[in-house]
């Protein structure tokens, strides 16, 4: 659903480069400028169209037209309902942008940050737009549409209430409430809601109302917020939810609003809520088993998902799982004994998030499989689409990587016992999830062949090959017990010989993740079923007995093997009860996921408990001998195939209105300052415009820094910049005028305190082409006419005021790499580098002409989970006439020296730093620190060293420090502490000794330095 804003990382790519260069405000681009950061790659050139409904402008691309019609209908249905619930109507059309898949959604420019898996959509209130991906599960897609529209209503209603009462509209509802009401009003609680709340109660981390800030932004917050809204509706009345919004003007403290609306003390309300929760869940939990007690641990520390087990020919076994141990996501193989207990350190099969091939795992969505021959199949994101990797576990190498043009997303591959066939769920560019079968040797000349098994709007997932390789078990909402707004899943069998689909389980429940036992007689799966109070049960392990004594045909539904064949019909003649019995093996407090047979009698599964995923082993034979309950699979009632309602429009896909860029204001900001010396005033404003898709942005900056004695126009600075990020090659260009006393420490002409007056008129351009998420090439060019008044050294060697006129033309190319992983204080793992060359010349009179070479490499070695050794090597040189100076000094480079005051044309620099925690979570020790925003305290010991010199052989000088020079070799050693505030700001304090000339110990001088910013 709506993403907590904390996942917005630094803006990747071009904008960060431009911002880093200060070009949005205008300026000549130094050829030695460089930037880091990962890239948000625009792999696809979407042909956007607009479907106009009664209240919405639905933005879509032709491939997802069907999905857009389903989403548009869902939005209109939601609007009608929410209009009642909010007692409110819109007087404007709401833009909704649909993306067919999660990978398309990750490319959106409507938000500047990276979007991780699991973000169901968001409402961006600046432009009032809603952005939602589908990713195969149409049920969830429709629900997210409603969830986001609740946000739209909430935001607009809140703004109206505040304006009505003449209150500032900067007041927001607490995030837990806005997300809670969005969850509550977007549908009945699903099985994941029950999972979270049950676990919170059972594991005793349920957070009371007055402490909700502690879980801000977490998934628990969403579900607790939803539970609170349900409590208010059931205990006080549904109308009170709207009252809470209607009365928010009364107090900035939302607890006071709660007290007014509910008529009770805030803590009484909180206690009643907790009692309400306990009344519902404690009786359920009394009969339930805690997974950590009922199942043996296999991997019980860290976060582990999607387990599979492989037995090698020599009888040794490995449990494989996707894991995150606080850094990059990894695929780990842990050797285990006969009892599945680890007997050695895990082997890292793949470390994700570091290169293109293994760009990212789908931690929660995609499970793995391994064949009898040791062929492991798993999925990662690779560029614009997902790919299936086939790893030979016995040879420890990748043998194949499968990607298909027909689909964008791929989930949960399964491999036939002989390793020849691979079945999986593919998400097409239309946004629907279907089953595909890939025969690695089925094509001509030994090439592979792809076959689409299903082609409809149902969500088919979690396929598993039967041991004979002739059929697939899979989970789907194609059941007669599901329907629009009723997200039930059953297990089905796909007969690969006849293309028939038949029920393996049936009923109004959520059955997922089927796995055949090695002998094929049983099928393990996960099921959450309705209980007597209508709530879903925990997600438990179930077993289907496939070896019947009686021979009764299964109910059969026809498959839809041809694309567009959505006419799935349940066969009226074959709705006899299937000859399958199902047994409930577990009654867990929270949830089990992804069972896998370690043997004919033992399952491993991912256990959710105490808000963590671990891997556990479960004795299925013993549990099957005394099941919690046994049921014959009920026959589905004969019914016609159901379909999602679609928005009916005369506007056909061919005639749909194409998207046209229209620009609207994003940001406007202004300021005015007067220098403390009183000799100049500065004031100005920046406005930014962008189109609805966020692909095209204009920045207009105007400010005046009028030096004393000069006119307003003399100090007028203007810049107009356009940045287009709608294509893979990001382009930015602009025109600018800079004027005033331009301080530039890199300018070799600025030698003392006397500020020069300078005017620069020019243009700039940059093209940034991402090779992958981690690597890009930047090309930049700028042309600027400069008239600079300053002290110039004349032919007689004396300095006189004069005007230097240049037409500088600068070009640069650089290659940037960044796969660094960030912690609270800066990078903790990975590496990043920027290599670049450039040339700058004066086209008027060759007053300047110099080359630039830059090499900047930073490496982060993670010694343990919390300790990192960071290394930085930097070489920079500007060589030629009037070459700019490179700058060093300050808290990030050459510590102990003034910030960016060391100037030299050529320099070598290195820094080595050991980073370690001092207090990992100080707010747990002293809660007051949490209120003050103290998120963590780190320490560092460091050694910096540099060698810098100028073309004429002179040593570097300290800018504006009385022409002071230092030796060519200098550096510092010391230690420091870093304090993270609010997860966003880092305060730095360093102490140590610095060396001025050749690292002579007698040159040492103690220093202490305070600054702010992330570690390098």
């Amino acid at each position: 659903m709506s993403a907590p804003r904390r996942w917005f990382g630094l803006r990747p790519g071009l904008v960060s480069v431009l911002v880093g260069l200060g070009l949005l405000a205008g300026g000549v681009m130094p050829a030695d400028a460089q930037g880091f950061g990962r890239n948000k790659v625009q792999y696809d050139d979407f042909d956007w169209h607009i479907l106009e409904t009664e209240h919405f402008d639905v933005y879509y691309y032709p491939e997802e037209r069907e999905l857009a019609e389903i989403g548009a209908q869902a939005a209109e249905e939601a609007y009608v309902e929410l209009e009642h619930k909010f007692d409110f109507s819109f007087n404007h059309r709401v833009p909704i942008l649909f993306y067919a898949t999660n990978l398309h959604f990750k490319q959106t420019n409507t938000t500047p940050g990276f979007i991780p898996d699991g973000v169901g959509g968001f409402y961006e209130f600046l432009k009032g737009r809603v952005v939602i991906p589908a990713d195969g599960n149409v049920q969830r897609f429709r629900r997210v549409v409603k969830h986001e529209l609740v946000h739209v209503f909430t935001f607009n209603k809140l703004a109206r209430v505040l304006r009505d009462h003449r209150r500032p509209v900067d007041r927001f509802l607490p995030l837990w409430f806005t997300e809670g009401i969005a969850e509550y009003w977007s549908g009945e609680p699903d099985h994941q809601h029950e999972m979270i709340i049950r676990d919170a109660v059972a594991s005793n981390f349920f957070v009371p109302l007055d402490d909700m800030d502690r879980i801000a932004g977490s998934y628990v917050m969403y579900k607790e917020g939803e539970a609170f809204c349900r409590f208010v509706a059931e205990f006080y009345g549904e109308e009170k939810l709207l009252d809470l919004i209607d009365n928010v003007w009364r107090d900035q403290d939302f607890s006071k609003v709660i007290e007014f609306v509910l008529g009770e003390d805030f803590h009484v309300v909180s206690d009643k809520w907790w009692d309400w929760i306990r009344e519902q869940y404690l009786p359920k939990l009394e009969q339930a088993d805690v997974p950590s007690l009922a199942a043996a641990p296999v991997k019980a520390r860290g976060a582990f998902f999607k387990p599979v087990v492989h037995t090698f020919p020599d009888g040794t076994r490995e449990v494989l799982a996707v894991a995150n141990r606080g850094g990059y996501t990894e695929l780990l193989a842990t050797p285990v004994d006969d009892d599945l207990q680890p007997i050695g350190d895990p082997d890292v099969i793949v470390r994700g998030g570091r290169n293109l091939d293994y760009e990212a795992f789908h931690l929660f969505e995609s499970r793995m499989d391994v064949s009898d021959t040791g062929l492991l199949a798993f999925v990662t994101k690779r560029g614009e689409r997902d790919v299936i990797h086939l790893h030979d576990l016995r040879e420890r190498r990748r043998v194949d990587m499968l990607g298909f043009d027909e689909m964008v997303g791929i989930y949960s591959p399964t491999v036939s016992p002989d390793g020849r066939l691979v079945a999986f769920t593919g998400i097409s560019t239309g946004g629907f999830a279907d089953l595909y079968l890939y025969d690695r040797e089925g094509g001509p000349a030994g090439t592979g062949s792809l076959r689409q098994l299903t082609a409809d709007e149902y969500d088919d997932r979690d396929a598993d090959f039967s041991p004979d390789g002739l059929s697939l078990a899979f989970s789907s909402d194609r059941t007669a017990y599901a329907g629009p707004g009723t997200p039930h899943f059953n297990i089905f069998r796909y007969d690969l010989q006849t293309d028939e689909i038949s029920y393996m389980t049936s009923g109004p429940q959520v059955d997922i993740a089927p796995r055949f036992s090695p002998d094929g007689d049983r099928l393990a799966f996960i099921s959450a079923r309705r209980e007597s109070d209508g709530k879903y049960s925990a997600m438990n392990l179930w077993l289907a007995d496939l070896a019947p004594e009686a021979d009764v045909p299964s109910p059969v539904v026809s498959a839809s093997p041809t694309p567009g064949g959505a006419e799935l019909e349940f066969d009226d003649d074959l709705h006899l009860p299937p000859d399958i019995e199902v047994h409930q093996l577990s009654e867990f407090t929270s949830a089990a996921y992804d069972p896998f047979w370690a043997s004919d009698s033992t399952l491993v599964f991912a256990s959710f408990e105490d808000f963590r995923f671990t891997i556990r082993a479960f004795d299925a034979d013993s549990a099957a001998a005394s099941p919690r309950q046994s049921l014959a699979v009920a026959a589905p009632a004969p019914t016609e195939a159901w379909a999602y309602p679609r928005y009916q429009t005369d506007d056909t896909a061919e005639e749909a209105r194409p998207y046209r860029r229209r620009y609207a204001l994003d940001v406007a900001a202004g300021s005015f300052t007067t220098a403390t010396t009183g000799d100049y005033n500065a004031g100005g404003a920046t406005v930014a415009f962008s189109d609805m898709l966020g692909n095209d942005r204009f920045f207009v900056t105007a400010y005046s820094a009028s030096p004393d004695g000069r006119s307003f126009v003399d100090g007028l600075n203007l810049a107009v910049t356009r940045i287009h990020t709608g294509r893979r090659a990001n382009v930015g260009y602009g025109l600018f005028r800079r004027a005033g006393p331009l301080f530039d420490r890199g300018d070799p002409d600025q030698v003392d305190f006397i500020p020069s007056y300078q005017q620069i008129h020019g243009g700039l351009g940059i093209v940034s082409y991402p090779l992958s998420s981690f690597r890009r090439i930047d090309l930049s060019s700028s042309l600027g006419y400069s008239a600079k008044e300053l002290l110039l050294r004349g032919d007689d060697g004396r300095r006189n005021f004069d005007t230097l006129r240049t037409l500088s033309f600068s070009n640069a190319i650089s290659l940037a790499h960044d796969n660094a992983l960030y912690g609270l204080f800066g990078p903790v793992d990975g590496w990043r580098a920027n290599l670049g060359v450039g040339y700058t010349t004066d086209l008027l009179q060759s007053a300047l002409s110099y080359y630039t070479v830059n090499a900047d490499v930073r490496h982060y070695a993670r010694l343990s989970r919390d300790v990192t050794f960071a290394s930085w090597a930097l070489a920079r040189a500007n060589v030629g006439r009037r070459a700019r100076f490179n700058l060093l000094g300050g808290s990030w480079s050459a510590r102990g020296f003034p910030l960016l005051r060391i100037r030299a044309e050529r320099l070598l620099f290195t820094s080595q730093e050991l980073r370690f925690p001092i207090v990992k979570a100080p707010y747990l020790i002293a809660p007051t620190l949490g209120a003050l925003g103290v998120a963590g305290l780190n320490g560092a010991v460091f050694a910096d060293g540099a060698y810098a010199w100028n073309g004429d052989g002179s040593s570097p000088d300290l800018y504006n420090v009385n022409d002071q020079t230092i030796g060519r070799a200098f550096g510092s050693v010391g230690a420091g502490a870093r304090l993270n505030l609010f997860g966003a700001f880092v305060l730095r304090y360093d102490i140590g000794y610095r060396f001025w000339d050749g690292f002579q110990w007698d040159e040492r001088e103690a220093f202490s330095q305070f600054f702010f910013g992330w570690d390098f």
Binding site: E83, D164, G237, G263
Partner: protein
């Protein structure tokens, strides 16, 4: 010595005066000054016939509660705003006669009686003001917490419902509490009491409808509406129409409280305050449909669908019914058929009831404007 003390006293006196003035300024100094008492219209004035034309508009500085302003025989209109102002203006030209600041939001309808103005305040301790607007002096304050609904004057007693659910009968001149009733519920009062044949009928957020004897506070009858009541009911000596928040519109006998009929629409729909005419009950709801209902049988005679919620009472007077919507529409419908005979799009949503005075239709609309509409031939005069 005297010569040296006096300057100090003057300084102290000035300082004291400054502190008093500052305190009054900070605390909010209530002031509402009119030159003649209010005289209620004898009967609901016939609405001006469409087509209408906007005659004037003024900015009230803040928005308005859901209930309609109150109009007087001399063409004056009194209304409260959500930033605590009471505004008295002339409906003919929109000129303000007086403005008083009562400190905080006014959600309910402001009531008048001769020189007295009774102002419900929705925030803080000062729940209800009794103010003599002719003498420009505050007579009394009921410090019993917020009042989100306006009071009712019945049989010489001021009946007011506080947010906490307490109903009080007050002496309108002194503010003395004559009686008080606090039903044993957590219900709150959002809807104003209405006069039904001499009884003060109060509906609460628990859906309980009670008829009080305004003189004694005795409950004459009570009925469950079956759903919370947030909007003010409509009443005649014969009939009480109760709008609920869950799709139910209920008609009760004013004398006995017995249910006459009810209408159930979608259970998530909220009814706006209805209006009772001689031959029809007209009410809108959040489904955007305005319904004309036979007051005797509850039969829906006609419906008219608008784009946007209807949240405020329509104005039914004469051959047309005027209604404002959240879709910014101001429309006139034929009372008999429901056909639209005139409409206009406003700059903002209409969330408050309409009122007519001196041939002018007064419309309160977002963001905070008061419009005066007059027949086209008169508007330019």
């Amino acid at each position: 010595m005297r010569g040296t003390i006096r300057p100090h006293l003057r300084v102290l006196a000035r300082l004291g005066a400054f502190v008093v003035a500052l305190s009054l300024g900070l605390l909010g100094c209530t002031s509402l000054d009119i030159d003649r008492p209010f005289v209620l219209q004898r009967a609901t004035e016939a609405a001006p016939p469409p087509p209408l034309e906007r005659s004037w508009r003024f900015d009230a500085d803040a928005a308005f509660g859901p209930d309609a302003p109150i109009a007087f025989a001399d063409g004056r209109v009194v209304m409260g705003t959500r930033d605590g102002k009471v505004i008295v203006f002339d409906a003919r030209n929109g000129v303000r006669e007086a403005t008083g600041d009562f400190g905080d939001a006014i959600e309910g309808r402001v009531l008048t009686d001769g020189p007295m103005v009774f102002v419900p305040v929705a925030e803080g301790r000062n729940g209800l003001f009794g103010y003599d607007a002719v003498r420009n002096m505050q007579r009394w304050i009921l410090r019993e917490g917020p009042h989100l609904a306006g009071p009712l004057l019945a049989a010489g007693t001021l009946v007011a419902g506080a947010h906490d659910g307490t109903i009080r009968g007050l002496d309108p001149q002194t503010g003395d509490i004559r009686w008080s009733a606090r039903p044993d519920t957590v219900a709150q009062i959002r809807a104003a009491p209405v006069n039904a044949g001499g009884l003060a009928v109060v509906a609460d957020t628990e859906g309980m409808v009670r008829a009080y004897d305004p003189g004694t506070g005795a409950v004459r009858w009570s009925t469950e509406a079956g759903a919370p009541v947030y909007r003010t009911p409509a009443a005649t000596p014969d009939l009480v129409i109760v709008p609920t928040t869950r799709g139910r519109l209920l008609a009760l006998d004013s004398v006995t409280g017995e249910k006459r009929w009810s209408i159930q629409i979608e259970d998530i729909a909220r009814w706006a305050s209805p209006v009772i005419g001689e031959t029809a009950v007209v009410a809108g709801a959040t489904d955007g449909i305005l319904r004309s209902i036979d007051p005797a049988t509850g039969e829906v005679r006609w419906t008219h669908t608008f784009d946007g919620t209807i949240s405020a009472a329509p104005l039914l007077a004469g051959p047309v019914v005027y209604v404002g919507t959240y879709g910014r529409r101001l429309a006139a419908l034929d009372t008999e058929t429901g056909d639209e005979v005139w409409s206009e799009t406003l700059g903002g949503r209409v969330k408050a009831g309409l009122v007519t005075a001196d041939g002018t239709l007064v419309v309160l609309a977002e963001p905070r404007f008061v419009y005066g509409y007059r027949p086209q031939v008169l508007a330019s005069r």
